[in-house]
């Protein structure tokens, strides 16, 4: 296979993974208006949770089935304990509290799992891969992760476009007061959305754990790139997060090969270009 095609494949796969993390952030940011800096921590907890769960279950997908409900529950608790006090406060206080959560989660991670890197095994039936060039194999697990991300994206779009909860979420995003005036309990809605966001980040962390090695601070780069995706895609837009994440993934993969000197800044250049052309993001409302 051609190097360009291989890089496109890499970029799409990376982008799909970023989408999982960024979709939760865009929901929380768009619907609740909360800047959640601790989003990356849920990714980290997902990865470390996968490490521990997989030691018991032996299979990353069993860990996923167990881990996602746990992450949702954890999201509910965190929302109830901390986040619900932030809705009527300004962004600075949100940043302060969610940053504090990062520090607490990082410290908790160190106490529970220590600071050495760990790896999570790829299940036996997904060992190996497809040969795509003379020397290069594309691992089955990466293909499985990409397919899983696409499935999640389709499911999310279905829920948001076709179901009652999706309608409430969309309505909540465009006009919170009106939704409340129609008798919908926004507190419950927010709790659900925050927990769903946490669960999505954790899902990303879990499926990524056999690809990444699991180490302290694993969530921070994810947080930053997720914000870039949210800004590019338009705040609150799942479709935007999907397109934005793919754009970032492909730009990053191609950039590394063709503009290695600028590879770390290329995604930010892309973000700047989008903001100049469409200040509200690709699928956001005009700012």
């Amino acid at each position: 296979m051609d190097l360009v095609l291989i890089q496109l494949l890499n970029g799409v796969q990376y982008g799909l993974l970023i989408f999982l993390a960024a979709s939760g952030l865009t929901l929380v940011f768009g619907i609740m208006g909360v800047i959640n800096l601790s989003h990356g921590s849920f990714y980290m907890l997902g990865a470390y949770g996968a490490l521990t769960l997989t030691q018991f279950t032996g299979d990353i997908f069993l860990s996923l089935a167990l881990g996602v409900p746990l992450a949702f529950l954890f999201g509910v608790i965190i929302e109830w304990l901390f986040i619900r006090h932030l809705y009527d406060r300004d962004h600075l206080q949100q940043v302060l509290l969610t940053f504090a959560l990062i520090l607490i989660f990082n410290e908790a991670q160190k106490l529970l799992w220590g600071s050495y890197p760990h790896s999570v095994p790829v299940p036996g039936y997904l060992q190996g891969g497809v040969k795509i060039s003379a020397l290069l194999t594309y691992p089955y697990y990466r293909i499985a992760v990409a397919a899983f991300c696409v499935a999640i994206a389709l499911a999310m779009m279905f829920v948001i476009q076709k179901t009652r909860i999706g309608r409430i979420i969309r309505a909540g995003e465009s006009n919170r007061e009106m939704v409340e005036a129609l008798g919908i309990d926004s507190r419950l809605l927010f709790r659900f959305v925050f927990a769903a966001g946490a669960a999505l980040a954790a899902t990303a962390g879990i499926v990524a754990s056999p690809l990444e090695s699991v180490y302290p601070g694993i969530g921070e780069p994810v947080l930053i790139i997720s914000f870039v995706v949210v800004v590019i895609g338009g705040i609150g837009s799942i479709k935007g997060a999907f397109v934005g994440a793919l754009l970032i993934g492909v730009a990053d993969a191609l950039g590394k090969v063709y503009f290695p000197a600028f590879s770390s800044s290329i995604v930010y250049a892309l973000m700047a270009a989008v903001l100049i052309a469409r200040p509200g993001g690709l699928f956001g409302r005009a700012a």
Partner: protein, 408 residues
């Protein structure tokens, strides 16, 4: 207030040195200063991809001091720990916090070369006794060496030079380099190039990845299309673990040998599993070194931390050993810098890594070993190079390395 009392004590010390006047300052006799805890600032990463390295260094230093009854040269050791997060932009502020804010007596740091550069700048100006337990930036003990800065780890080029020579010896003719694009990675590759090119090897391409990025897929695809005989890579910690896994998953392991400095495998031997099998590295330490110091150190460290030490722990151990030598020569008084630095500079001791001494610019002169990762362990294959001093041939600056100002 703080500054004022500080001045008083220093002033008093000077008077005490003169002699009789000491009695006039009963609140600040040298005896009190000797008995006071020695505050040692630790600027190390306790979070991020290098967290395990910072922890290993700290553990070993702690172990050394505990074995000495919590005291070095009669002074109780008090650690003042700061997490530098391996983030160069924060380095200046955090170092100042330790040196000016906490007023530590000795500064020890750090792992990341970029952070160490910023730290060393402040350390040079402040003149504070400083020991570098890991960061290998060449310039720290080349053009920018200073009499108060000692490195107990290695210069970045050293493992690269040893690995390049070993690769030539193994009959490898073509290579691609793939490394993090910051000082440590670039200098490691420069060292490798120096000996690999000198031995008649050919470097097809030099690939880099921004630190601490761990999306290796793009580079691996390119390596596969370039088809070299071997790859020389500098990555470390969590990034190195992921790299070996991605390298194996991409199917490259069976067709292109993976080589690197020992940091590629150290600390992640077990976690790497099958992905790490056969990765060859050169380093100034290997677990199975057959010397008494190493055996004792490994047993003691394992007893204390339920984990066997890695090279970072060894460097932490040697850092404390060197500090101990300096403090003893100065009678526990870090103000007696001439005595302290002279003893440290001329120190020769048997480290768990083998014979250890310092060059004129206070960088270690030590042996490098060739290792292969097998069954979760770095297996000793032989000595790659003996008494490796920092190679000045690869040195690229305009002025010649300045010798430290201390008299030997």
């Amino acid at each position: 207030m703080h500054n004022k009392s500080r001045f008083t004590r220093r002033h008093a010390l000077k008077m005490a040195g003169v002699g009789a006047a000491a009695a006039a300052f009963p609140f600040a006799r040298p005896a009190i200063s000797q008995g006071a805890p020695l505050r040692v600032g630790l600027l190390l990463p306790y979070s991020g991809t290098f967290a395990a390295l910072g922890t290993a260094i700290t553990n070993a230093m702690d172990l050394y001091v505990k074995q000495q009854g919590g005291k070095l040269a009669g002074r109780t050791i008090e650690w003042v720990k700061v997490d530098d997060e391996s983030a160069p932009p924060k380095a200046t502020e955090l170092t100042s916090k330790l040196v000016q804010g906490e007023k530590v007596d000795v500064l020890i740091g750090t792992v990341h070369s970029g952070v160490a550069m910023a730290m060393a700048k402040i350390a040079r100006e402040a003149g504070i006794p400083t020991l570098i337990p890991n960061a290998g930036a060449n310039v720290l003990t080349r053009a920018q060496c200073a009499k108060n800065i000692f490195r107990t780890s290695f210069g970045n080029s050293q493992p690269g030079v040893a690995a390049g020579a070993a690769m030539i010896k193994a009959g490898i003719k073509t290579a691609v380099t793939y490394s993090w694009g910051y000082a440590a990675g670039e200098e490691s590759v420069a060292g490798f190039k120096e000996s690999f090119l000198a031995g008649g090897g050919k470097i097809i391409k030099e690939l880099t990845l921004p630190f601490p990025n761990v999306e290796f897929q793009a580079g691996l695809a390119e390596i596969a299309s370039l088809k070299p005989e071997a790859v020389y890579s500098f990555f470390a910690g969590g990034g190195a673990l992921k790299y070996m896994q991605d390298y194996a998953a991409a199917g490259l392991k069976n067709s292109v040998q993976l080589w690197g400095p020992g940091f590629l495998t150290d600390g992640v031997e077990k976690a790497a599993g099958a992905a790490g099998e056969g990765v060859k590295t050169a380093l100034h330490y290997v677990e199975s070194l057959d010397n008494a110091e190493n055996k004792k150190f490994r047993a003691d460290y394992n007893a204390a931390f339920q984990r066997f030490p890695d090279v970072y722990a060894v460097q932490g151990w040697d850092t404390t050993m060197l500090l101990d030598i300096g403090l003893k020569a100065a009678g526990g008084d870090v103000k007696k810098q001439d005595d302290m630095f002279k003893a440290m500079r001329n120190a020769k001791f048997n480290s768990p890594r083998g014979p250890f001494r310092l060059s004129a610019s206070q960088n270690p002169i030590h042996n490098f070993y060739l290792r292969e990762l097998k069954g979760g362990e770095n297996v000793y294959l032989g000595v790659a190079a003996t008494d490796v001093s920092d190679p000045t041939a690869g040195w690229s600056g305009g002025e010649s390395p300045r010798l430290p100002l201390v008299e030997v």
